[in-house]
Subunit: 638 residues, 2 copies
Amino acid sequence: MNANEKFIAAKAQVDEAAIAPLPNSRKIYVEGSRPDIRVPMREITQSDTPASFGAEPNPPIFVYDCSGPYTDPATKIDIRSGLPALRQRWIEERSDTEVLPGLSSEYGRQRAADKALDELRFPGLHRKPRRAKAGMNVTQMHYARRGIITPEMEYIAIRENLNREKYIESLRATGPRGQKMADMMLRQHPGQSFGASLPAVITPEFVRDEVARGRAIIPNNINHPESEPMIIGRNFLVKINANIGNSAVTSSISEEVDKMTWSIRWGGDTVMDLSTGKNIHETREWIIRNSPVPIGTVPIYQALEKVDGKAEELTWEIFRDTLIEQAEQGVDYFTIHAGVLLRYVPLTANRMTGIVSRGGSIMAKWCLAHHKESFLYTHFEDICEIMKAYDVAFSLGDGLRPGSIYDANDEAQLGELKTLGELTDIAWKHDVQVMIEGPGHVPLHMIRENMDLQLEQCKEAPFYTLGPLTTDIAPGYDHITSGIGAATIGWYGTAMLCYVTPKEHLGLPNKQDVKEGIITYKLAAHAADLAKGHPGAQIRDNALSKARFEFRWEDQFNLGLDPDKAKEFHDETLPKDSAKVAHFCSMCGPHFCSMKITQDVRDFAAQQGLDEAEALRKGMEVKAVEFVKSGAEVYRNV
Amino acid sequence: MNANEKFIAAKAQVDEAAIAPLPNSRKIYVEGSRPDIRVPMREITQSDTPASFGAEPNPPIFVYDCSGPYTDPATKIDIRSGLPALRQRWIEERSDTEVLPGLSSEYGRQRAADKALDELRFPGLHRKPRRAKAGMNVTQMHYARRGIITPEMEYIAIRENLNREKYIESLRATGPRGQKMADMMLRQHPGQSFGASLPAVITPEFVRDEVARGRAIIPNNINHPESEPMIIGRNFLVKINANIGNSAVTSSISEEVDKMTWSIRWGGDTVMDLSTGKNIHETREWIIRNSPVPIGTVPIYQALEKVDGKAEELTWEIFRDTLIEQAEQGVDYFTIHAGVLLRYVPLTANRMTGIVSRGGSIMAKWCLAHHKESFLYTHFEDICEIMKAYDVAFSLGDGLRPGSIYDANDEAQLGELKTLGELTDIAWKHDVQVMIEGPGHVPLHMIRENMDLQLEQCKEAPFYTLGPLTTDIAPGYDHITSGIGAATIGWYGTAMLCYVTPKEHLGLPNKQDVKEGIITYKLAAHAADLAKGHPGAQIRDNALSKARFEFRWEDQFNLGLDPDKAKEFHDETLPKDSAKVAHFCSMCGPHFCSMKITQDVRDFAAQQGLDEAEALRKGMEVKAVEFVKSGAEVYRNV
């Protein structure tokens, strides 16, 4: 759909590009302790090793799958109906929530009553909003601290283990060489985890304990029962977030829904809807109802629109109504810039780029205009009361994050971080889940300080950083300047990395930019998992490299983060199908293929009838002439 | 030109895309102690700060420029003639070389005599080859060790300082606020250099000393007098290399020349011609004669073609003739895999991906076939004799580098590194310049070990690494998986980063891939310079961020590494010229622009008549109502 075309609800359709399964992949579900705990994963099938490399089966591998029902051909997707409410029963079973007669927020009711919005309104919601019963606290942290393992926690434990046991079994079953193959495929370098605690197997109890301690959060609003539970914490897989959202200048509802389904297809673990343009409320409804991943927002953006962009006219009442409005739609985490204190604002005066956080600058302006601390800060406990009634998690915003290398790690930034640590304590007093947002623009060698201070001052509450960008000089490539910083800070302990797209600083990302940003951040997160030594992280690298070595081209493409692009690149130079089984590629041609030569060397050794290492040692003692003879036909004709 | 079209020398033309100056940029030359030392730099002009931000002039900044005469409109480029021989006189003045009657290599003479090659042969070379007089050593290291500062060394000192003095002067001359502005624009975070010695100003004597100690190399063959001197060493700016070259499967001479001029336009400091396809000799001649940057090769590739791809038939004589052939063409550094010893080969038997270096696998095969150490190793001193007669630098190849995360830092790799350290000593005994090639595929946390061992075992000879790739799972994005590793190892002390393009593992890079690889590595190298605290490195970041904050869009584009792409991205959403002066962009629209809000806050403070920090402090004491009044029109209409 074109951005300028009018969006009509009745005609809304899922983006076709988002629903086909990835090549050689199928969605599987691992069942938990009860039949309604069905944890999705993507199984990637591999072909057998070619005869010249030893003809062995390569069992399927399992990868984390954020794409929800979209890539499951057994599910019929209709974005006008939204996704099934898979957590509904779990929420109901806890008997601590009640169905409200209607929307609690004034603004929400106004929008609902506005006939002019009917044609673009999401038509599929027939549930009423739900809220904690009076005096009840429905956060996962609250349950965790009372020792309760929720279905969500069990779901997450299964999800994080990625069906590794099944993979190991399949490896062992590959024949007489099974155990040896398992040893090889599971081998992994010991990591350097900077104090993270990474158990070999994630148990539901471990999930509970981490949530209880505040070291991890499970963002899942009771009004977003469509979401598949996931966890953000240093001792779990590093996650990534994709930002979408329209602005006053560009984009439509259908574009934003398409960006969401596109994001999760490529691996976005959460999506933030940062819309600041028209119909923010309605856009969000479409996104949430169709999203299997947690949705985050920055409520102050919408509040500002309600006062026509006049920051100083913002009030607690308007903000409060906005929080309730969004909480009842199902937003899973709120970015709240409550750490922008009056005394920090002057510290930004000598910055190169001032305050670059939109929320931060809005609040700074409000503070100055009223010459007092913001309502986000003074009403922080009131906000906690709302959060715990719906289980919305805090993402405590870094409103004073540096917007340039020059401003990195300055007094303003670090002052605010300390305040975020204090606010974390208050939120935890209410059993409200918290993560902490981080920079921004930081040169490589100053990244560690950010992580260390955050761990200390925010007591290991999960860190959620934007990059950081490691240089300012590459507009158009800031997914990469920041991907470098993201991998680094992920290694040090950041739990979730907020993507940056190539359009950063230049324009709103389109679908292509979203994908580029996602893949960059998936690989950065994975580089971090490998460096931390996350159990099993190397399985996919090992499988892909084995496929590469054995010239299983299709498997190499399919095991990668972006099979479509890998195949497209390969086919640019060698488009024929026969090239997919060729024992060389366009880089080196047949004569120069080092992998081919290596295999020749090994084959020669193996002819001595010994196993590989032995054979090679033995082979070296054989007279040279024999090798030349046996290797006469080493370069096969293509 | 299409790859399948036949290349005809008479019709060869420079790629038009390579010769226009970049936007708002002009080539300047900084003169040294003699008029023929004219060091090129790119001057980027900036517009004045808009009135709303204080109306101040922004002096031009100077950036390193690898593009040679191509971007100088005063120079007429004709690739059939080649570039002017700017170092010719310096070489002649030393009186230690002689002009040979003709080519010394048998193969070179054969090719020259082959009439069938006439139509594709480079027509512009009228010089005879040059070689050291008998008993002479013409390496820059040899001069350096005898205390001689060559014009090349002075040229490099000027080049590395990037005309910083001139920029500082211009800042101070910007009016009454000059000194303050200079303080701001020159401010830089102290770095973390892991033991590097980075002087505030590079002197010719410092260059000499670093070369004498072997901590830096100046690759400039006396038969490549067209090259502009540059240096590779840990205490200088981090450099990057771009690989080009055809293969048996694809690409033509003109494509490779285009890739070279394209590479240097975007910042390739050296170019390696890795051709393994047809007409390797002639392709190289075209490239060298037109290249202002040092050219590296892997001579064993061509030697292997001479024996029809049969590694075991390679001999010292064939290899020696190839070295001389290429040295007399002007190759500036040779990758030589002399560290692949017989005893290391079995150590690769249990690897996931065996030997992935083409040169390494060729030599491994030769060693096994003959059951003895390779001629590269046994004739290493003979090779040194050739290198010092032309001043070709060694790039000691890591033939056993890991090709997968699994194989990182294994016994084979680290064994070879130790041998490379021993070979470094031998080369240095001959005053031959040396750099050391490094991996490959290495997870983030194991990169440091590579750098530490290299520094120790190779006694600070410059390290030159391929990435390293920090994960295997992203084919199609390996410029990024490796850009992460490259920035990291550059920070730790690597002197030159060999780029990886998006096509790595999948196909031969085209021009677009080359540019993507170059920009990725330029930003990685710059991130490393910033992290090391390289003097002046932050100037460009500061200038760009100031432009960004002041909504000087064109300046923001032009100060970046790729002005074309930045502008294109911006224009996708806001194509009008008026948007280039707009005080907002498509990301946030006018209401949400944090930079705009920040400036409003500052303006308000400044109205109190004080300077910025004071003003803001003061401003906060003013009654809120006044702020609201004065800020009533803060969001200007678009």
